[in-house]
């Protein structure tokens, strides 16, 4: 299932999504500033593909995921799922669509209600949407548990009796219960040990194949994203800076940030011990991002125009999108 084949079958489209959080302080709730968590993101995910979303902490990737399943309302922008605008829907209208988009969280400890049994956690979606009788729901819960590799007799156990990997399986079963089309995977393996991480990745891939699932896979681990994704988007300080098919992005990164990011990953390959391209400085605060291109203070190829204007997110070559003046002939000339 390559990305190109179904590139026009868009399951979800985001248009100019912006999410700002006001920071209030003091006893009178005076505004101190705004965190620009997500700043004008436009993006589409095709049915059946995995879109990887990478970036460093605080770049807004998780917020974007939460906006996508409407856990957060965007300050601006449009989310279309199967052609329907999710943002304008009332809660009642949203309810049937809730089934179709689900989420898997990073922290396997806080993502499960500690006072509910596994059966109750997995079956909650069925209960909320009144799917089938009690007996049918119980049957379904067992089927889901088998699907994700949980022992059926642990249906009455509580989350604290499981290890991190097992809990993540419970979270996956909960997400699957309503037969979703899109699953936002928010760093689903980051908290797990490598050997367990591989089990969960395999499970996610198996499930995708079987149910033709679409994933938004959010992670800071570039190797995992490379492995699991069809296309990859790179985010920096609330903005997308590059988007391309996986092979294109990893083999031929164009944006200086992407290049630096890829260069920074230590590879477990002793033959290619490479010279690192080291990126200087820290990620600036999203409260006061730099003017112009957000990346310019750390960019080795920055030009005068970069600190002045914000480059647009443009299709550089087919299906390779980039936000950088280096690839804008007019700007470069000026």
């Amino acid at each position: 299932m390559s990305a190109e084949k179904k590139s026009d079958d868009k399951l979800i489209t985001l248009k100019n999504i912006t999410k700002h959080y006001p920071i209030s302080s003091g006893s009178f709730g005076t505004r101190k500033g705004i965190v620009r968590a997500v700043d004008g993101v436009t993006l589409a995910i095709n049915r059946g593909e995995t879109l990887g979303l990478v970036g460093e902490s605080g770049c807004g990737k998780s917020t974007l995921g939460r906006v996508m399943i409407r856990l957060e309302k965007p300050t601006e922008g449009e989310v279309r799922f199967n052609g329907k605008d999710l943002i304008s829907l009332s809660r009642k209208e949203m309810s049937p669509l809730r089934n179709k988009i689900q989420i898997i969280f990073q922290d396997p400890y806080s993502s499960l209600n500690p006072r509910h049994t596994v059966g109750r956690i997995i079956g909650e979606g069925l209960q909320i949407h009144n799917k089938g009788s009690r007996a049918e729901q119980a049957q379904e819960v067992k089927r889901l548990m088998g699907l994700v590799g949980l022992r059926l007799d642990s249906v009455t156990s509580y989350p604290h009796e499981f290890s991190g990997g097992q809990r993540q399986r419970i979270g996956i079963a909960r997400a699957l219960a309503l037969q979703p089309e899109l699953i936002v995977c928010d760093e689903p393996v980051s908290a797990l040990d490598v050997s367990i991480q591989a089990q969960v990745i395999n499970l996610l891939l198996d499930l995708q194949k079987e149910f033709n699932l679409t994933y938004l896979f959010i992670s800071h681990d570039l190797s995992v994203v490379r492995y699991i994704s069809d296309r990859v988007a790179v985010m920096y300080l609330g903005r997308l800076v590059e988007l391309a098919s996986k092979d294109e992005l990893y083999e031929n990164p164009l944006h200086p940030y992407t290049t630096a990011l890829l260069g920074a990953v230590p590879t477990a390959d002793t033959k290619t011990r490479k010279k690192r391209t080291e990126l200087s400085g820290d990620v600036p605060s999203p409260i006061a991002p730099p003017r112009g291109c957000h990346f310019h203070p750390r960019c080795s190829k920055a030009m005068p125009v970069c600190s002045d204007k914000t480059p647009e997110f443009k299709e550089h070559t087919k299906n390779h999108w980039i936000r950088c003046f280096l690839y804008d002939k007019k700007a470069k000339a000026a």
């Binding site: 990745i201 490379r226 477990a268």
Partner: protein
């Protein structure tokens, strides 16, 4: 041939709790040469951090206790030293860097004072000399405008900067050895790269040995010379980094490599070769080889008898019955 700086022999540390005895570190042996970077790698709960704290004599007691073994550092057995003598080594001859830069610095003291503290303690520097040396150290760890940053509190700095301060504290007294316990795990990739290259540079320029504890095979491949792989409190494999990655011996090491995307499986068309099951409970370890219940190659003997650390060609060692004759 460089001298052996640290020799850990038969180190065994247990934790005595209400739930029973956790055999966190069990008969661990390895040695670290002068100027070398040795890496201990393993998943959470394998005993790598407890090993580090045992060397430093910082195991919380109770419930933890070093049961047996020896830790020879420059010829003296650290485990025989009194607490007072040990304090003269900590932060001076052996120093340590921790995983969480956000919480490892005391929030109520200026970073300059926190660095100066070790200098005053171990080198009896006066206030002015200490300050000069602090600025010099901040320069070494590449913190910009150190004259101003000495008066910063930790919360005014980013995670990467704080980890640089931790490194400065560790370097302050020109230690023979630095134990770095997951020094980059909490950091973003670009910052991780900065810190790793800084550590690499400093160890080369000062000749300090580094014991690098990590779960990240990528970090190991890029920084270490020799590697110790630990599993459930035991050393399961020892090798130089190149042989380990080219030809891993122990089924656990092989499984670990197969689990990480990009080493064996480069694309999702190739399935990750995950290790089934989970790490055994340290309170209730299985009979025989501790890895046997998750091992694809396990046979009868593996479930009953625990293998010793067999020698393998090229000076390598592996704890697996498959290599008994080798």
């Amino acid at each position: 041939m460089p001298k052996t700086l640290l020799e850990v022999k038969g180190l065994t540390t247990h934790f005595f709790t209400d739930r029973g005895v956790a055999r966190a570190v069990d008969d661990v042996n390895f040695e670290l040469l002068e100027g070398e970077t040795l890496s201990i790698v393993g998943e959470s709960g394998c005993g790598k951090s407890v090993t580090a704290l045992s060397i430093m004599g910082l195991i919380p007691h109770p419930p933890g206790k070093i049961i047996s073994g020896s830790v020879h550092f420059n010829g003296t057995n650290l485990l025989n030293l009194s607490e007072r003598e040990m304090r003269r080594i900590r932060g001076n001859k052996i120093s340590m860097i921790f995983q969480e830069p956000m919480t490892s610095l005391n929030p109520v003291f200026k970073i300059g004072d926190q660095i100066a503290e070790v200098l005053k303690l171990h080198q009896n520097l006066n206030k002015k000399d200490a300050r000069d040396r602090v600025i010099d150290l901040l320069n070494q760890v590449r913190i910009p405008s150190p004259e101003e940053r000495v008066n910063d509190y930790p919360h005014q700095m980013s995670g990467g900067m704080r980890q640089r301060v931790m490194i400065a504290i560790a370097l302050a007294c020109d230690p023979k050895m630095i134990i770095a316990d997951e020094p980059t795990t909490a950091l973003d990739v670009t910052i991780q790269a900065q810190i790793l290259s800084l550590m690499d540079h400093l160890s080369k320029s000062t000749g300090t040995s580094i014991l690098l504890i990590t779960h990240d095979l990528g970090v190991v491949a890029e920084t270490a010379k020799n590697v110790v792989v630990m599993y459930a409190g035991r050393v399961v494999e020892k090798a130089d980094v190149k042989s380990l990655f080219d030809d891993p011996l122990h089924p656990y090491t092989i499984g670990l490599m197969g689990s990480i995307p990009g080493i064996v499986a480069k694309d999702k068309k190739i399935r990750l070769d995950a290790i089934p099951g989970t790490v055994p409970n340290l309170f209730d370890l299985p009979d025989g080889c501790r890895f046997s219940r998750r091992c694809k190659d396990a046979f009868e003997r593996c479930y009953k008898e625990e293998p010793e650390l067999f020698d393998y060609k090229g000076g390598r060692k592996v704890r697996c019955w498959k290599y008994e004759e080798a």
